[in-house]
């Protein structure tokens, strides 16, 4: 399956991926309303790496593990893996116990700001194309399958 890979050398840390992630997961689908009015948690973690003379960044999304620990840890059955291999969280069933946060080795699942569920990358399956990838101005995140990713590693 395809998932999103980060390229540290290209990431500017601009945060546009987060802006578009929030928009894609908003009710309004409007970039201004989604980011200013709706209380949405981005499913992307942007990390800053402090080096002696510079700062670099990378953006991290759910790795959609083959054996997802979050799915096994989930107490309500809200976290599940689709037949396509995408790890999804059903917000209706999620009680935000954070068992998934406890076990995700990537720290790629986070409590959502409204506090009632968790936020994680769903590869924008409802929208179509991952919006973070589409709007990254410097190709620092790409949607790749395993072979493509291995070639670019």
């Amino acid at each position: 399956m395809k998932k999103i890979y980060a390229f540290e050398s290209k990431c500017l840390g601009c945060g546009l991926c987060e802006v578009h992630c929030k928009t894609a997961h908003s009710k309004s689908k409007d970039i201004i309303k989604a980011n200013k009015k709706e209380n949405i948690t981005s499913a992307i973690v942007i990390e800053e790496i402090l080096q002696p003379k510079a700062v670099s960044y990378f953006a991290l999304q759910c790795r959609h593990c083959q054996k997802p620990k979050c799915v096994k840890a989930c107490i309500s059955g809200a976290m599940y893996k689709t037949e396509d291999g995408i790890v999804k969280n059903n917000k209706d069933k999620c009680v935000a116990c954070l068992s998934c946060v406890l076990v995700c080795p990537y720290g790629a699942v986070r409590k959502s700001k409204e506090g009632k569920s968790v936020s994680k990358c769903d590869l924008c399956i409802e929208v179509g194309t991952p919006q973070c990838v589409l709007h990254c101005p410097n190709d620092a995140i790409k949607l790749l399958d395993e072979t493509e990713a291995e070639a670019l590693k």
């Binding site: 540290e8 083959q66 107490i75 116990c97 954070l98 406890l102 080795p105 990537y106 720290g107």
Partner: protein, 417 residues
């Protein structure tokens, strides 16, 4: 091939999934002594509070059993194993044959010796959906509730009842709440948050006697104090449900003894979840780790091995918990140890970050309302990562994947697992 699974919760369901993934045609029967399809057992406190509606209690989709062609026997007690003839004898007198059997019998509540305690109609345990429903029906705005046990189950019951009854008092013999999971500092944060919601604690004492006829009306504590009580919840702990295994002559210590493949002392019988002893990788001792993630992992492992021969080893295990009380989020893992100034890195009102570092390795942590990437700490414990090989001092700042050197970080992100 005929698989029989006794138990219909985390271990049982994940085992069934694993068996089905390897064997599309086999007969699979689940025997459950409960009346509901599999539900998220820890959700029973959310049901009690009303936060979760009955339609969201199910652990899997409504068509889980039918779509996978699984026979589900509800309200059915497995009473005896005939291991020679490979049969399970049930309460309805039915004999169910198996080729491979999984014991996923879970825990039973431990009932401490309390004078005059029988099965009065206002005495509850808090381990099943049925009990939670019975409790919800029984309580009124005037109820005075006494909960024996300030562990995870007792406190979640208290939170579930909050706002629905007149008074809640939680009793525990230990000097702090969640004594098996938390140090004093963390426990006092949790306790004071719960107290702010008018829930009383009486610690260092136990319930020694109850008064009343068919219904309990007072609880007498070990220090002589007497409390009005029209609902008594016994939540002092659980014990592995090992009766079937023991009676059948399987090797049982505190829990059912299994090997790394989740196989019991009999070749065709596996066991998983709260009823077994797991090897705690941190203490290197066999322990009962009655935890949901552990049960589902072990269930999956057992299922795969039952269906395809012993190939899969159960993942390493250690204690871990994620739970919240009145908005205070607690995440902890590993060996907690005693808190001191060398282990607490952030503490303020309602917030704490404590790391237990021993010999260059993280062996445990407690986070209360702290930042959100706890799983990276869990991975450091799990992988026994040498902290000196990391990019920064984990005590100094929030954890992120940037803690790993570039090469191993890329390796993780690009991992095919």
């Amino acid at each position: 091939m005929k698989y029989v699974i006794i138990g219909n919760s985390a271990a049982g369901i994940n085992a069934v999934d694993a068996v089905r993934s390897k064997d599309k045609k086999a007969d699979i029967t689940i025997i459950s002594n409960e009346e509901f399809p599999a539900y998220g057992r820890p959700l029973i406190s959310y049901y009690l509070s009303g936060k979760i509606k009955p339609e969201f209690m199910n652990y899997r989709d409504d068509d889980f059993y039918t779509s996978r062609n699984i026979e589900l026997l509800l309200n059915c007690e497995a009473e005896k194993l005939d291991v020679e003839n490979k049969k399970v004898i049930t309460s309805l007198g039915k004999q169910i044959s198996y080729d491979k059997l999984l014991l996923a019998t879970g825990s039973v509540p431990f009932i401490p010796p309390i004078k005059e305690l029988a099965s009065q109609d206002n005495v509850f345990t808090f381990l099943t959906y049925k009990e939670s429903r019975r409790l919800k029906e029984k309580i009124t705005k005037k109820s005075k509730v006494v909960i024996a046990g300030a562990g995870l189950i007792g406190l979640k019951a208290a939170e579930g009842l909050f706002g629905q009854v007149a008074k809640i008092t939680v009793i525990d013999l230990a000097d702090r709440v969640m004594a098996s999971v938390l140090d004093k500092t963390a426990a006092s944060l949790i306790q004071s948050r719960i107290e702010q919601n008018d829930i009383d604690f009486k610690l260092g004492v136990s319930v020694s006697e109850v008064e009343g006829g068919n219904s309990v009306s007072r609880a007498i504590l070990s220090n002589g104090e007497s409390l009005e009580c029209d609902i008594l919840i016994i939540a002092v702990g659980v014990r592995p449900n090992v009766k079937l295994a023991k009676d059948a002559g399987l090797k049982v210590a505190r829990g059912i003894v299994v090997d790394e493949f989740m196989q019991t002392s009999r070749e065709d019988i596996y066991a998983a979840g709260d009823c077994v002893e797991s090897l705690d990788m941190l203490s290197n001792e066999n322990k009962i780790l009655a935890l949901w993630p552990n049960a589902s992992q072990q269930g999956e492992t057992a299922g795969l091995n039952m269906a395809a021969g012993n190939k899969e080893k159960a993942p390493v295990a250690f204690a871990m918990n994620a739970i919240s009380f009145f908005g205070l989020q607690l995440i902890s893992a590993g060996i907690i140890g005693e808190a001191d100034k060398n282990s607490i890195f952030d503490i303020e009102a309602n917030k704490l970050r404590r790391l237990n570092i021993v010999d260059d390795r993280l062996v445990g942590y407690v986070l209360i309302n702290d930042q959100q990437r706890a799983g990276i700490y869990t991975a450091l414990i799990n992988d026994k990562t040498k902290l000196s090989t990391l990019e920064y001092d984990i005590k100094a700042k929030d954890i992120g994947l940037s803690v790993y050197p570039k090469e191993s970080r890329i390796c993780k992100i690009w991992s095919k697992d």
